[in-house]
């Protein structure tokens, strides 16, 4: 009786503890990043960002918070959030999606002298978006699996139609993956609508599954789940450099490429920081850092000329952006 209850005591001190814990945690973080925070959406791979963000943070003194979303997810999100965007800067989005965002009036106009070193075809004439790197579709093959299954190594888009690859090819879904949308739309542009769709329909018979992420096929091929994957250059190269028995094949006919874009969102919370970071990314120093994780960068001063340029389709991102909905609808009608 004298030793009185502690139940409410314990419960409430516990709840109070949680609150103190939370508040202190939040304020600690808030103080740390009060004025130096910048919030990113990005379709770059998490592994790439884990390398880039520390470099960018030291160079700019900013605290970078980021989440990874696919390119179309980013567009959908800023559409839903407008005009109160949840991020300040988008570092890495499909060029066609960046054009869409510009046309919807979501972007802040940037006019920095850092942009002078970027070729005109890599930036928006009015300064709403600019590229920071470009990338292209490649085919990744697992050489040991091909030998084991006694299959030849494909060298072109046409080779992939060979019935022997049935159930061995993995690609991604253009509705959710920018990589796949680039592949589909660039093939349609290069072959023409009718021939293009016929090609895709034949290819579909060999496809084992369409993944959600465009880098996932590279992973599945590297792990030996499937022998052939349709993915993009860096995803393939990372697997090759990690020592997997894989080979990157740039299709003989050529391949689609996309300008990976940066855009500052209009009226965002940390506008100055976003501008600072976006300017650093395209600056010579920033581009040299980016060149460590990407094979192609846009700044003339940092461009890596040593590598052989692959054969690229001439790709019209603007046209792809306008017909995106139609392409996706038709793709789903055929392949879902």
């Amino acid at each position: 009786m004298n030793n009185q209850p502690g139940f409410p005591k314990v419960l409430y001190s516990f709840v109070v503890l949680i609150q103190i814990f939370t508040i202190s945690f939040c304020t600690l973080f808030a103080i740390a990043k009060e004025n130096q925070q910048v919030r990113l959406y990005s379709h770059n791979d998490i592994r790439e960002m884990e390398q880039l963000i520390p470099i960018a943070e030291t160079a700019t003194g900013l605290k970078i918070e980021f989440i990874r979303l696919s390119s179309s997810q980013i567009l959908a999100r800023i559409r839903a959030e407008a005009p109160n965007f949840g991020a300040d800067l988008v570092w890495g989005i499909l060029n066609s999606d960046a054009i869409e965002a510009r046309n919807s009036g979501f972007l802040h106009k940037n006019s920095s002298k850092e942009w002078n070193n970027i070729p005109d075809n890599f930036k928006d004439p009015e300064g709403f978006w600019c590229g920071w790197s470009y990338w292209y579709n490649t085919i990744l093959v697992n050489t040991s699996l091909l030998t084991k299954k006694n299959l030849p190594c494909p060298t072109s888009w046409a080779d992939l139609l060979d019935t022997r690859y049935k159930g061995e090819i993995v690609a991604s879904n253009p509705g959710t993956s920018g990589t796949a949308f680039l592949a589909v739309s660039s093939l349609l542009q290069a072959m023409g609508e009718d021939k293009g769709w016929r090609y895709l329909k034949q290819l579909d018979k060999n496809i084992a599954q369409y993944t959600k992420s465009g880098s996932a096929p590279a992973h599945l091929v590297a792990m030996g789940e499937y022998s052939v994957g349709i993915t993009w250059d860096r995803a393939a190269q990372i697997k090759r450099d990690a020592g997997f028995p894989v080979k990157e094949v740039v299709p003989m006919e050529g391949t689609g490429f996309d300008l990976d874009s940066i855009m500052v969102l209009r009226n965002c919370k940390n506008l100055d920081n976003a501008l600072q970071l976006s300017n650093w990314i395209v600056s010579e120093k920033g581009q040299k850092a980016c060149a460590k994780i990407r094979s192609r960068v846009v700044n003339k001063l940092a461009a890596t000329s040593a590598q052989k340029e692959p054969k690229l389709f001439s790709y019209n991102a603007q046209a792809a952006a306008t017909s995106k909905e139609k392409i996706l609808e038709q793709w789903k009608d055929n392949f879902r």
Binding site: P5, V15, E50
Partner: protein
């Protein structure tokens, strides 16, 4: 300060030796005056508090669901059922509905059987076996709900451990994978519910049959099973809802097969088609609400158990060996898979690349982003649990004791929050809280509120269950002694509802640590949660990180649970001594 106050309050209940009470007795007129005003204040605070709670429940549960409903009727040409017509015209839309229904029914039927087998072995089996099955039956509960997909991929992929070991072509992507992953994920739910029924079952009938010479197989078939069928049915309905709402497993291991919850997500975020996503949500809501209504209002009280008799477990009749063997035959494969799954996660966490480079490494554990996400997850889960518990218990008290008007409706709304799949609540929150008056998107608060209110029903139901057992006379006594309503609530009701509070808090905490489906819509830069982080690295094929982070999340959840349990024990002891 708070602690001292409550201590005094509790004393007041047993012996009115409190200084204030004495003073009150000496000056009766003054006391009367205080009483009068106190009544007024109580009445006022009671009703205003009820209104406040009702508003919260309305705006954080009902409003988002309604927003989704309305959204599904918005077409480019104004309001109409165009989206629904479109849904039934395109095979890739309605197939998702059919697939989801088939998936949920399959998982449910398998789990009704497995849940029963595990429960029977745990309740009636020999001691060692009983403990073992109780442990494995509960084990999947601490893991993120999609973790079994990750380990099944590593285990059963085309180049997985099994494929290499048996040199066989196995394809786990699609139906088999999702069903297996779901069976493991939801086993604890089925197990716990059926075990409870089995435990509280009156064993007199079984004893009688046994004395008359029936063998155990016949007793099981003719007596035990019919008696607990309603219990199994209840468990099955719950599993059905969870299976249809499941998001993580289909997205990781579903391959090309379309399911409602994942496709709603992909439509919303991937293809920017919010109206069709809303239609998918409506089809997700309907089965959930139907089943919960049936569950709550038609099945309650139909469980044929005798609660007043002695606990059935006390008889401990030995299970006959043919029956034991038969049950073990069913259960063992699943047990092996569960243990393998956890083993693979541990193996993957310390391995450079599973099946490619099996060298030991610790690098997966030191991912800055992952660790930060872990921190946010704890904050998130603690706060969500605090909201669900505090509001839920208070609401249950108001519902049962105060008989506030529209009590039934409020309870039903809280149940809707629980029954509606996370994907729907995620989309609903985005629709409602993206603009003023409550522009919450991009904050940690919106995630906490979402998770807290989705689990409000847990607190409410636990509270109602407990309150119905507590005799109201205790409260009346306290009131007669002069305690105010608030004082009564804090010093009488709360201590007695200790169990309900702990249940609600622990459950919500665990669920929040591993939740994905709703918060995946609400995360924002810097507010990443561990569970969502794991899902996104797994999706990109970083299995090592996924395993390591899953393992840390499991250990962290267990550590927090241990801590909660210690607190619970400590506080319980305190109650019993008082």
């Amino acid at each position: 300060m708070m602690a001292e106050n409550t201590e005094k309050n509790a004393t007041g209940f047993h012996t009115p030796s409190d200084e204030k009470e004495k003073a009150g007795c000496m000056i009766p007129s003054f006391n009367k005056c205080i009483d009068g005003s106190r009544k007024w204040i109580n009445k006022l605070s009671n009703s205003s508090f009820s209104i406040f709670l009702a508003l919260l429940v309305l705006s954080f549960i009902l409003l988002p669901v309604c927003a989704v409903l309305i959204k599904s009727f918005i077409t480019p040409h104004g309001l109409g059922i165009g989206n629904y017509l479109h849904f039934f015209k395109k095979s890739y839309y309605y197939k998702a509905l059919i697939n989801s229904l088939i998936l949920a029914s399959t998982t449910t039927s398998i789990l009704s059987l497995m849940g029963f087998v595990f429960a029977y072995l745990s309740v009636r089996g020999p001691r060692g076996i009983s403990r073992f099955f109780k442990f494995t039956g509960m084990l999947p509960l601490v893991a993120p709900p999609f973790i079994f997909s990750i380990s099944l991929l590593l285990l059963g992929g085309r180049n997985g451990i099994l494929a290499n070991f048996f040199e066989a072509e196995i394809n786990i992507y699609g139906w088999y994978g999702v069903i297996l992953a779901q069976v493991i994920t939801f086993l604890p739910i089925a197990f716990v519910m059926i075990e409870n029924v089995l435990k509280s079952m009156d064993s007199d009938l079984e004893d009688a049959a046994s004395n008359l010479g029936a063998n155990q197989g016949i007793i099981l078939k003719d007596i035990t099973l019919p008696l607990i069928v309603p219990g199994i049915l209840k468990a099955a309905l719950l599993v059905f809802i969870l299976a249809i709402a499941d998001f993580g497993n289909p997205i990781l291991i579903g391959g090309n097969t379309a399911f409602l919850a994942t496709d709603a997500y992909l439509l919303w975020v991937g293809e920017n088609n919010p109206n069709m996503a809303a239609v998918f949500c409506v089809f997700l809501i309907i089965p959930g609400i139907i089943i919960f209504t049936v569950h709550k209002y038609y099945l309650s009280g139909r469980v044929y158990t005798a609660i007043q008799s002695r606990p059935g477990g006390s008889t401990h009749r030995a299970i006959s060996s043919p029956l034991l063997n038969a049950l073990l035959f069913f259960a063992t494969p699943l047990v092996i898979i569960i243990i393998l799954c956890f083993g693979i996660i541990a193996f993957g966490a310390f391995t450079k690349l599973v099946m490619v480079n099996n060298a030991f490494t610790l690098e997966h554990f030191f991912k800055d982003m992952g660790l930060r996400a872990m921190g946010s997850s704890i904050i998130f889960a603690l706060n969500a649990a605090a909201i669900a518990t505090a509001l839920g218990i208070t609401l249950s008290y108001l519902l049962i004791r105060k008989q506030i008007p529209v009590a039934g409706i409020l309870e039903f709304i809280s149940l809707i929050g629980f029954a509606v799949p996370g994907v729907v609540m995620g989309i609903g929150y985005l629709l409602v809280f993206n603009s003023p008056p409550l522009a919450l998107t991009g904050t940690l608060l919106i995630m906490i509120l979402n998770e807290g209110f989705r689990n409000l029903a847990v607190g409410v139901e636990a509270g109602i269950g407990k309150l119905q057992q507590i005799d109201i006379t205790l409260e009346d006594a306290a009131r007669d002694m002069g305690a105010g309503r608030i004082k009564t609530f804090f010093s009488i009701i709360l201590p007695l509802m200790h169990g309900a509070i702990i249940t609600s808090f622990v459950y919500t905490f665990m669920v929040s640590m591993v939740t994905v489906s709703a918060v995946i819509f609400l995360i924002s830069p810097g507010k990443q949660l561990a569970s969502v982080y794991i899902l996104s690295v797994a999706e990109q094929g970083e299995m090592g990180s996924a395993c390591a982070m899953s393992m840390m999340l499991i250990l962290l959840t267990m550590a927090c649970l241990g801590l909660l349990k210690i607190i619970a024990l400590f506080s319980k002891k305190n109650i019993q001594t008082s």
